[in-house]
Symmetry: C2
Subunit: 137 residues, 2 copies
DNA sequence: CTGGATCCCAATAGATACTG
DNA sequence: CAGTATCTATTGGGATCCAG
C-alpha cells in the first residue's frame, strides 16, 4: 500500500531520495523529530500542518520500514510509543537544513505580517487582547 | 490545476520548500538542468524516469511561475524553447547535493547488480547478446 | 487515554492518446 | 517540438471505529 508504484528505479540518487522521503508529509514528520523534539503519534498529529491520522500512520510505518525511524514502547507510559530517528534518519538533517536555508532566502518575507494584518482587520479587539497576553507564557 | 490545495501555509520553511519543489517530479527536472545540462522539453522527456508530458508541462509552468526557471525562445531554432535555471533555481543545488550525499550512504549498493542478476536469470541469451554489443554505442 | 485501522468520497497526480 | 484532453489511479481529509 501507500507509495508503491511511485519508485523511479532509475538508479539516480536524487530519484532514490525522492522515492524515500519525497512526498508531501514525510519530511515534515522528520522535521518534527529533528527540530521540535516530537516523539509520539499525538505529537505529530498536533503539528501546524494537520496531517490526517491515516497518512501519519502510513508514513511512520514506512519510515520504520526504511530504517529511518525506530519505534519503541515508552518505558514510563507503557501504553505509548516513542518514535526516534535512527542514524540514517538523523543523516537527513543536512537536507532539511539546506531546504531551510533556501527558504530563508526565498520565502515571501511578509507572509507572517500579512497574516497579522488580516487578523487585525477581522478582529481588532481580539488581536489587541492577544497582544497584551503575549509573552506571558 | 496542479498543486493548488497542497500548500501547508504553516509558515515553516521546510513546509514552504516542500510546497515549492516537494513533489515527485520537480526536483528531477531541476536535477536535469543542473547536473545534465538539459534545456528543452524534449530533453526532460527523455530522462530515465519517464515523466508524462502533462506532468512535465505542468511542472515547467509552475517552476516558471515561481521564478525558478526561465523560458526563452531558442535563438537558433526559433520554434524551440530553452529552459534555464534562475539564481533562485540554481540556489537549490545544495539541497540536491545533500540528497545525493545521503543517498550515496544509504542507497542499496547492489541494486544495479540485482537488476543484472534478474536479467540473467530471465533471459540469459538476451543478456549475453546485450553484453557483446555493449560499449559499441 | 494513546495509537492506530477503516471507510467514504473529494481532490490531485499521472498515463496515454491526440493536437496546433 | 511543445504541449492539451481525457480518463484512471492514487492521495488525502475527516469521521468513526477499535484495541491495548
Amino acid at each position: 500500500m501507500s507509495n508503491s508504484g511511485k519508485h523511479h528505479q532509475s538508479g539516480c540518487p536524487v530519484a532514490f531520495g525522492i522515492d524515500t522521503f519525497g512526498d508531501r508529509w514525510t519530511l515534515l514528520v522528520i522535521r518534527d523529530m529533528l527540530l521540535h523534539g516530537k516523539t509520539t503519534y499525538g505529537d505529530f498529529l498536533g503539528s501546524d500542518e494537520q496531517i490526517a491520522t491515516n497518512i501519519l500512520a502510513d508514513r511512520l510505518k514506512h519510515l520504520e520500514a526504511e530504517g529511518i525511524v525506530e519505534k519503541d514502547r515508552d518505558s514510563d507510559n507503557r501504553r505509548s510509543y516513542i518514535y526516534t530517528l535512527t542514524d540514517k534518519g538523523f543523516a537527513l538533517a543536512p537536507v532539511i537544513f539546506e531546504i531551510i536555508r533556501w527558504s530563508g532566502n526565498y520565502i515571501p518575507f511578509n507572509k507572517a505580517r500579512k497574516e497579522l494584518l488580516r487578523k487585525i482587520e477581522i478582529d481588532p479587539e481580539g488581536f489587541m487582547k492577544e497582544l497584551k497576553t503575549a509573552g506571558k507564557t
